[in-house]
C-alpha cells in the first residue's frame, strides 16, 4: 500500500479565485444594469461606458468566475476519481497564475477599448495566445494525470472534462485567427457572413462547452457525493454525453436567424437546436433522479437545495433555448431582452447555483469542519431564488413587450411605435426590476463569502489522502461495450474531436467554398481610410453591445429601417458587427439618414436629440485626437485579406483620411459648429454616414 496525497492547495487557490471573480463580475453586472436604467451611471468616464464595460462583465463571469470554478472542481474531482495526484505541481501553479494574469490584463484592455469586437471572444491577439498556452498547459496537466491513473476505467465526469478540453481548444483557435495590425489591434481572417458564422459557432459552443459540459461533469461528481446516492442511469450518461457533444456544435446559426446568413444554414441551426432538447434533459434527468431518495435531506441541507435548483434551471434553460431557436419564435425574441433573460437563466440559475452548492460542500471538507451557518446558507439560497426571479421575469416582460411594440402596425399600415425611443423608455421599469434582481443575487454571494470565511477560520486545512495498492493500476474486465472506451481516454478524446468537427465543417465550408452563398454586389466598395478608422472606433467603444447592423426581412424592419440586409454588403467587414441586442435601433441603414450635425450633437449628448435615451454620452470623442499612425498598415492588411485597394490607396491612406475629415469638418462649420478635423468623432461620423448606403448606388437588387 502507498499513500497518495492530493494537491488540494491548487484547488484552494482556484476556489478563492472563483469567489473573488464572482464578486467582481457580478458587481460589474449590477453596474451595467443600472446604466441601462439610468444613463448617468456611465459617469461620463470613457472607461466606464456601457460598451466597454459589458465585455468586462461577460468575460469576468464566464472565464473568471465559471472558469476558475471549473478548474477548482476538475482538479478536486479528477484526482479522486483517478486516484492520482495532479501530474505537476509546477504546471498547476503556472496554470493558476497565468489564468489570473490573463483575467487582469483582459479587464484592463477592455476598459481601454482594446477589443476584437467579437462577443465572448473580445480578447486581442496577444491575450488570445496566452489563453491558448495556458489552456494547453491545463490540458497537458489533465491528460498527464489521466495517464498516471490508478483506476483503469474513467468515470462519466471525466468524459465531460475530456469533451470540454478538446472542444474549447478547437473553438478558441479557429475563432481567434486574425492578422495583427499592432500589438493592440488585429483584423480577423474572416469577413462578414463567414465571420458571423464562425463567431456564433464559437459563441454558442462557448455556452455548450464552457458553461454546460464541464458543469455536467461537476454535477456527475458532486451531486452523488453530496446526496450519497448512486447515479440514476449509466446508459443515460452514455447516450446523453455523445448526443450532446455531437449535436451542440451544429446549433450556432440559431443566433443568426433571418440575418444575411444563407437560409439553409439557419434551418440546420434550428433543427439541431430542437434535437438538443432531449440530450440536455438527459443530463437533467440523471441529476434530478440521482437526488431521488434524498428529498428529505433537501429541506435541511443547503448544498442539495442548490444542486436541485441548479439542475432544474438547467432543464428550464435547455427547454427555453430550443424554443427560442425556432425561427418564428426567434423572429420576436431576437435582439430583445428575452435573450438576455435566457442567458441569465442559465448563468445564474444553472452555473452559479451549481458553483455555490459545490463550494458549500467543498469548504467544510477541505478545512475539516462544519459549515459555519446552515441558516445563513439557506437564506442565501432563497435570496438567490428571489434575485433570479426578479431578473428573469423582468427580462421576459421587457423582451416580449418591446418585440411586440417593434412589430405592431396601425390599421393604416403605419408603425404603431414609429419612434424607437418610445420602445426604449417603456423598458425603464423592467430595467429597474432587473437591477434589483442583480443586487439581491449579489447580496446572496456576499453572504456566501462571509459564511465560508467564518467556516475557514474555524477549521484547519489539510490535503486529502488515500491508500492505494501499489504499484499496479486496478484491472477490471469491461462489462459493457462503452466500458472499452472508458479504459482508453485518449481514444475517447480523439473520437470526441471527430464528432465535434463534423458539424463545424458541414456548416462552415460551403460559405467559404461555394460562391453562390454570398453573392457579391458590384456597388459595394471597401471602407475609405477614415471610415475604417471610424469603424475601429465603433468596435473599440462597443457600440455593437447596443446596436445591431442587420435589417431582417420583416415588414416592420423594412418600414423602420429600410431595405433588408444582403450577404454581399458585408464582405469588407472585419469583424462583422451584426450585434445581438437592440438596446438602440439597428444602424445598418443609418447612413445618410441624418446630417453630420445631428450625429455630432447626438453622440456628444444623446439626450439633446433623443430625450430619455439611455445611450452613453460620447463627448470624449470630440476631444480625442484620431491616431492615424497605423492607417497605412490597416489598409495594407485589408488589401492582403482581399479588399481591392490600389497601391496608391494604400500609400496615400493617411492623406485621404485627412482630406475626407476636412470635408465633414467643413460641413459642420457651415452649420455653425467648429470641430477640428483631426478628432475621433469625425471618423465615427464618416463611418456612420457610409453605413448601408452602397447598395443604393447600384441598380436594382
Amino acid at each position: 500500500m502507498t499513500t497518495v496525497r492530493f494537491d488540494d492547495k491548487i484547488v484552494r487557490m482556484f476556489l478563492f479565485a472563483t469567489l473573488f471573480w464572482g464578486l467582481v463580475g457580478m458587481s460589474v453586472g449590477v453596474l451595467l444594469a443600472l446604466q441601462l436604467a439610468d444613463w448617468r451611471f456611465n459617469f461620463e468616464i470613457p472607461w466606464l461606458t456601457f460598451g466597454r464595460l459589458r465585455p468586462v462583465h461577460t468575460n469576468a463571469v464566464i472565464f473568471a468566475f465559471a472558469g476558475n470554478a471549473i478548474f477548482c472542481g476538475v482538479y478536486y474531482s479528477s484526482q479522486r476519481l483517478l486516484k492520482a495526484r495532479l501530474f505537476s505541481d509546477l504546471v498547476s501553479r503556472i496554470h493558476f497564475w497565468g489564468w489570473q494574469l490573463i483575467i487582469v490584463l483582459a479587464a484592463c484592455s477592455f476598459v481601454m477599448g482594446i477589443t476584437t469586437g467579437k462577443e465572448y471572444a473580445e480578447l486581442e491577439w496577444p491575450l488570445d495566445l496566452m489563453v491558448a498556452v495556458i489552456w494547453l498547459l491545463f490540458a497537458f496537466n489533465f491528460f498527464a494525470t489521466l495517464a498516471r491513473r490508478r483506476e483503469k476505467h474513467i468515470y462519466v465526469a471525466l468524459w465531460f472534462y475530456i469533451g470540454t478540453i478538446i472542444t474549447i481548444t478547437v473553438l478558441h483557435v479557429v475563432n481567434s485567427l486574425a492578422i495583427p495590425v499592432s500589438l493592440t489591434k488585429s483584423y480577423p481572417i474572416y469577413a462578414g457572413v463567414q465571420d458571423a458564422l464562425v463567431q456564433w459557432w464559437y459563441g454558442h459552443n462557448a455556452v455548450g462547452f464552457f458553461l454546460t459540459t464541464p458543469f455536467l461533469g461537476l454535477m456527475y461528481y458532486f451531486v452523488p457525493k453530496a446526496a450519497e446516492r448512486p447515479i440514476y442511469s449509466y446508459r443515460l450518461s452514455i447516450m446523453h454525453f455523445w448526443a450532446l457533444v455531437f449535436l451542440y456544435i451544429w446549433a450556432g446559426p440559431h443566433h443568426l436567424h433571418y440575418t444575411a446568413l444563407p437560409d439553409w444554414a439557419q434551418s440546420l441551426g434550428m433543427v439541431f437546436s430542437v434535437m438538443l432538447l432531449a440530450p440536455s434533459w438527459g443530463g437533467m434527468i440523471n441529476g434530478l433522479l440521482t437526488l431521488r431518495g434524498a428529498w428529505d435531506r433537501l429541506r435541511v441541507d443547503p448544498v442539495l437545495k442548490f444542486f436541485a435548483a441548479a439542475i432544474t434551471f438547467y432543464g428550464m434553460s435547455t427547454f427555453e433555448g430550443p424554443l427560442m431557436a425556432i425561427k418564428s419564435v426567434n423572429a420576436l425574441s431576437h435582439y430583445t431582452d428575452w435573450t438576455v433573460g435566457h442567458v441569465h437563466n442559465g448563468a445564474l440559475g444553472w452555473v452559479a447555483l451549481l458553483i455555490f452548492g459545490m463550494v458549500y460542500w467543498l469548504v467544510p471538507r477541505m478545512w475539516n469542519t462544519k459549515l459555519h451557518s446552515i441558516a445563513l446558507a439557506n437564506a442565501h439560497f432563497w435570496l438567490a431564488m428571489v434575485g433570479i426571479l426578479f431578473y428573469i421575469v423582468s427580462m421576459w416582460a421587457a423582451g416580449i413587450t418591446q418585440g411586440l411594440m417593434w412589430k405592431e402596425f396601425t390599421a393604416d399600415g403605419l408603425l404603431a411605435y414609429p419612434s424607437f425611443l418610445e420602445t426604449v423608455t417603456k423598458m425603464h421599469p423592467y430595467y429597474l426590476g432587473r437591477a434589483l434582481g442583480g443586487v439581491i443575487f449579489l447580496a446572496g454571494l456576499i453572504m456566501l463569502i462571509i459564511n465560508l470565511a467564518l467556516t475557514i477560520r474555524a477549521g484547519r486545512f489539510s490535503e486529502g489522502e488515500i491508500q492505494v495498492p501499489e504499484p499496479k493500476p486496478i484491472e477490471h474486465k469491461p462489462s459493457h461495450w462503452h466500458a472499452v472506451l472508458e479504459r482508453k481516454p485518449f481514444l475517447m478524446a480523439i473520437l470526441a474531436l471527430v464528432v465535434i468537427t463534423i458539424g463545424g465543417i458541414v456548416e462552415m465550408m460551403p460559405t467559404f467554398l461555394i460562391k453562390g452563398n454570398i453573392p457579391t454586389i458590384a456597388s459595394v466598395k471597401p471602407w475609405s481610410p477614415l471610415e475604417l478608422e471610424g469603424r475601429d472606433i465603433y468596435v473599440r467603444e462597443g457600440c455593437y453591445a447596443c446596436h445591431s447592423q442587420m435589417v431582417r426581412p420583416f415588414r416592420d424592419e423594412l418600414a423602420r429601417y429600410g431595405e433588408y440586409s444582403r450577404p454581399g454588403e458585408f464582405i469588407y467587414d472585419r469583424p462583422f458587427q451584426w450585434g445581438s441586442k437592440r438596446t438602440g435601433p439597428d444602424l445598418h441603414r443609418v447612413g445618410g439618414r441624418y446630417s453630420n450635425l445631428w450625429h455630432l450633437r447626438h453622440l456628444e449628448d444623446p439626450r439633446l436629440t433623443s430625450p430619455g435615451s439611455v445611450m452613453p454620452s460620447y463627448a470624449f470623442l470630440t476631444s480625442g485626437v484620431l491616431d492615424l499612425g497605423h492607417i497605412t498598415r490597416k489598409i495594407q492588411v485589408m488589401k492582403d485579406l482581399g479588399a481591392p485597394y490600389s497601391e496608391e490607396q494604400v500609400r496615400h491612406a493617411g492623406r485621404d483620411a485627412k482630406w475626407q475629415a476636412r470635408g465633414i469638418a467643413d460641413d459642420l462649420r457651415r452649420n455653425g459648429v467648429d470641430v477640428a478635423p483631426d478628432r475621433e468623432i469625425i471618423a465615427l461620423i464618416a463611418y456612420l454616414q457610409r453605413l448601408g448606403t452602397d447598395i443604393k448606388k447600384g441598380g436594382p437588387l
Binding site: 461528481y221 452523488p224 399600415g413
Partner: protein
Amino acid sequence: MEKKDEILDHGQDYDGIKEYDNPLPRWFLLMFYGSILFSFAYMAYYTAKTWSIADASGRSANLAWSGARVAAEVREAESGHANFVPPEGDALLSFVRSPGNISRGEALFKANCVACHGENGQGVVGPNLTDRFWIHGGKPEEVLLSIAQGWPGNGMPAWGASQGPEKVHWLTAYVMSLRGRSVSNPKAPQGIEE
C-alpha cells in the same frame, strides 16, 4: 421488464460513487426520436420549398425563403392601399384638414423627420415648420412637393420614392397642421413670410 435500481458493477471505485443502470424513460425516448423525425421532415420541406421559390424568381437559393417571405408580407399589408388616388385642389385641402390624416402623418413624422425638424417641428438642422416662413412655399401643393421630391442639394431628402404617394400626403397633412403651433425654443425663421 428490466430491473430498476440495481447497482451496476463495473468493479471500479469512483471515489465511492455508485451507478444504477436504469432504462431510459419512455417519454424521454419518444421526445428524442420525435425531434429527430421533425428535423428530417423540416429539412425536406425546407429544401423542396426553397428550390421551387428559387426557380420561380430566378433568385439564388441562399436567401430565397427569407426574401419571398418578406415580399409576401409587405404585399399583403399594402394591398389595401394600392388604389390611392392623389387628391387635388379642394379635395387636397380637405384631405390635409382631416384629423385622421393628420394623426397618420404625425406617426410618420415622428419616425422620419424629427431628427432634422425637431420633436414638434420647431426646427433643428431643417427649418422650423411651425412658423409662417417658408423657403419653398407653404401651400399644400408646395409642401407636398418639398416632401416628395426633397431638396437634396440643401439637405432635405426626397421621400416620395421610399414612402409612396399616400404616406407623403399624410405627412403633408401633418406638416400643414403644425403651422401656428407654439413650441419651445423655435429655430429662427428662414425663407419668406406667407
